[in-house]
Amino acid sequence: MKSEDIFNAVTELRDDQVRAGERKLHRTRTPNFRRIGALAAVLAVVILAGVAAGPWLRAALRRSPAQTEAVPHDTGAQLANTTTEPAKSSNGGAADTNAFSLGRADYPKMAPYPRDDPWHENEAAWEAWWKCYKETHPDTDYSLGINDYLRTAVPTLLSDTGEDNRVVSPLNIYMALAMLAETTAGESREELLTLLNVPDLESLRVQAKALWEANYCDDGRLTELLANSLWLRDRTVYNDETVQTLAGGYYASVYSGPMGDEAYNETLRAWMNEQTGNLLEDQIRDIGMSSDTVAALVSTIYYKASWVSSFSRVEEALTFHGPDGDTNPAFLRRVTEDSTLYSGEGFQAAGAKLDGSGQMFFLLPDEGVRPEQLLADASALNFLLSDSGRSSTDSRQVELTLTVPEFDVSSKLDLIGMLQELGVRAIFDPDRADFSPLTTDVEEPITVSKAQHGARLVVDEDGVLGAAYTIIEMTEGACEPQEPERAELTLDRPFLFVVTNNEGLPVFIGIVNDPKP
C-alpha cells in the first residue's frame, strides 16, 4: 500500500465529514452557537410542512410509472382499433380505452435520458436525448396573460379550505378552460378569454400549445404527461372544424358513443385512470355522463419527479401541530448547503429541486398566520406564482436543514361556483350560453352542467408524484347557477406548497392542513 492510497481514501470521505473540516479550529472549548442556530432552524422548518402518508403511499411513489397498472399515455396507440394495454377500470374490470374512439392523440415520443452513461463515453445517446428534448420543447413563449390568470384564479381555487387539504393544478384547469373556449362563442367565449387573459382565440391556441409542449416530458427522468379528450354523443352532428382543432391543437383524443351508456362511461373512467396512473381512482369512480350530456371535455396531468438531493427519513418522532391537534407523521430531512431561505411578509420558504423539472417550494406562514390570509397578501402570492416573485422576495444563502413531513393530499373541487366568482357566468345560463362552434344539432340550449377538478399530490423521500383531472360536461337544458359555498375556520400551523416547472410555472399548488397519522 502507498500513501497515495490513503490520500485517495481521504478524498472519498463523505460530504458531511468534509464539511466538518471547513470551519476554523476552535482555540478553546466554547458553547457551539452554530449548532444551536442549526437546531433552531430545524425546529422552524419542522413546522413548515403538514401531513403524513401511509406506507402504501410511499410504496406507490417508489413504483415507477412503468410498473403501475395503468401507464399514462400508451404512446404506442395512436388510432382507433389499435390494441392498447387495458387500463384497470374504476370498478376493477378491464376497459378498453380504444372502444368508442374516433382517434387517439399522437403524443411526442422522447429519447430516453441516458442517466447511467457518462457523457464522454456515450456522446451519441446524450446528443440524441438533447436533440429530441429541444424538438419536443420548442422555445415558444407562453407567458401571455398567464401570470394574470394565476393571480386571479389561484386565490379562488385555494379559498374555503376549512380544515381540509387542498391541491389543484392551475395548469390542468387552464388546458380544460382553453378547450372549453374553443367550443363557445360570443359572451361565453369572451368571459373565458378574459379569465385566461388572452385577447382572442388564435392567441389562446398558440399559448395552449406552447404550454402543453413546455410541460410535456416523458424521457425517463421527468414524467409529466398531459392529456386531453373530447367525448361526443353518437347521435349528434358536431362542427368538424372545432373537433379537429381540439384534436390537433390540444392533443385531444376524440370519442363518440351513447351518452348514459355504462360501457361508454366505463371507457371514460378507464381513460381518466390510465392518464392519471390510477392515482385518482376514488374520485373517478363516481364520474359518468348522463343521457342528456351533449359533450364532455377532460384534461389530465400525471407528474413524477425525483429530488435532486434526496431526503432521509427522520428516525426520532416529531410532532406536527395541525388544526385537529398534534400528530406524529413520518418526517423527512435533508441538509443542503447553499440553499436559499426566503423571508417574505408573514412567511419563510425554501425550495427543493426536482430532477428535470422546477422546484417544490414549501412556504411556512409565521406563527398565528393562516395560509389563506397569506394568499390575500401580494408578497406571498407573488412568491408562489412566479420566479420573478420569488427573486423579489428577501432571501439569503444558508446551509439549510429542511424537515418536512411525508404527505399525501388530495381534493375534489366543484369549479362551477369558482368560475362564476371569477366572472365566467354565461356558459351556465341557458339564455346566454353559446356553444354553436361545437354543435347546433340540439333541441334545448346547451349549458355547462358539471365542472369538476380533482388532484392528488404525494411527497416522500424519493420525490413528488401527482395527478389531476378536470372534467367539463355540457348538457341540454337549464342549469341552476350555484353560489360558492363559504366557510372560515381558524387553523394552527398549516402550510402552502407549489410544484413548478422549469420556468417557475405552478404545475400543482396547495394547502396542507390535515396530517394523516
Partner: protein, 185 residues
C-alpha cells in the same frame, strides 16, 4: 446562481455551466489545488482541468454538493499531476502530505495484500466518525483540504510543534485502526 441550476446547465450541455462554476467555485478549487501543489501555474491548470472533468462527468453524475464534488475532482487531478511530476520534486504541499501519510501505511505491504480502495475508504470513514469532533475537524482540515500545519497551529492557538504532535497522534490512531481492520504490517 444556485448549485441545482448550475448542474442543470451541465445537463443541458450549456457552456455557461463552466462560467458559472468558475465564478462561484474558482476560488475554492484554487485554494484546494494551491494547498496541495503550491505552484500558481499548476494550480490554474488543475482548476481548469477540474471544470473539464466536471463537464465530462455531469451528466450522468448529479452531485448533491457541487462544491465538495469539485473539491474531490481537484484533489484527484492534483494527485495525478503529482504522480506525473514526482521525479521533479516540484509539489511541496503534496509531498509533505504524502510523506506524513506514509506513517500510516503499513510498511512493505504489497497492493495485493492491502485493503481494496473502497474498503479502505469505508474503513477510513468509520475511523473519522469515531473521532471527537475537534480531532475529526483537524484531520479533515489537514488531509482533505491540505491546510498547512502552521495555519492550523495558529487557528488552534498552539505552537507548531504541538500541532505536529496532535497530527502525529491522529495518524497513529489511524494506523492502529487499519491494523485492527486486518491490514498486515
Amino acid at each position: 446562481m444556485e448549485d441545482a441550476t448550475i448542474i442543470d446547465l451541465y445537463v443541458q450541455r450549456n457552456q455557461r455551466a463552466i462560467e458559472e462554476t468558475a465564478a462561484k467555485y474558482g476560488g475554492y478549487c484554487s485554494a484546494v489545488a494551491s494547498n496541495l501543489l503550491g505552484c500558481p501555474e499548476d494550480t490554474e491548470e488543475i482548476v481548469n482541468d477540474t471544470w473539464l472533468a466536471a463537464w465530462n462527468d455531469i451528466p450522468p453524475s448529479q452531485p448533491s454538493c457541487l462544491r465538495l464534488y469539485l473539491g474531490r475532482l481537484t484533489r484527484n487531478l492534483a494527485v495525478s499531476r503529482f504522480r506525473f511530476a514526482r521525479s521533479k520534486k516540484r509539489f511541496a504541499g503534496m509531498e509533505s502530505l504524502l510523506s506524513e501519510l506514509e506513517e500510516v501505511v503499513p510498511g512493505g505491504t504489497s497492493p495485493e495484500e492491502a485493503l481494496a480502495g473502497k474498503e479502505l475508504a469505508l474503513c477510513l470513514q468509520g475511523w473519522v466518525d469515531s473521532l471527537e469532533r475537534e480531532e475529526r475537524q483537524l484531520f479533515v482540515r489537514r488531509y482533505w483540504h491540505g491546510v498547512p500545519v502552521k495555519q492550523l497551529a495558529r487557528e488552534a492557538g498552539i505552537s507548531q510543534n504541538a500541532m505536529t504532535l496532535r497530527l502525529s497522534r491522529l495518524r497513529r490512531s489511524l494506523r492502529a485502526r487499519l491494523e485492527q481492520e486486518g491490514v498486515e504490517l
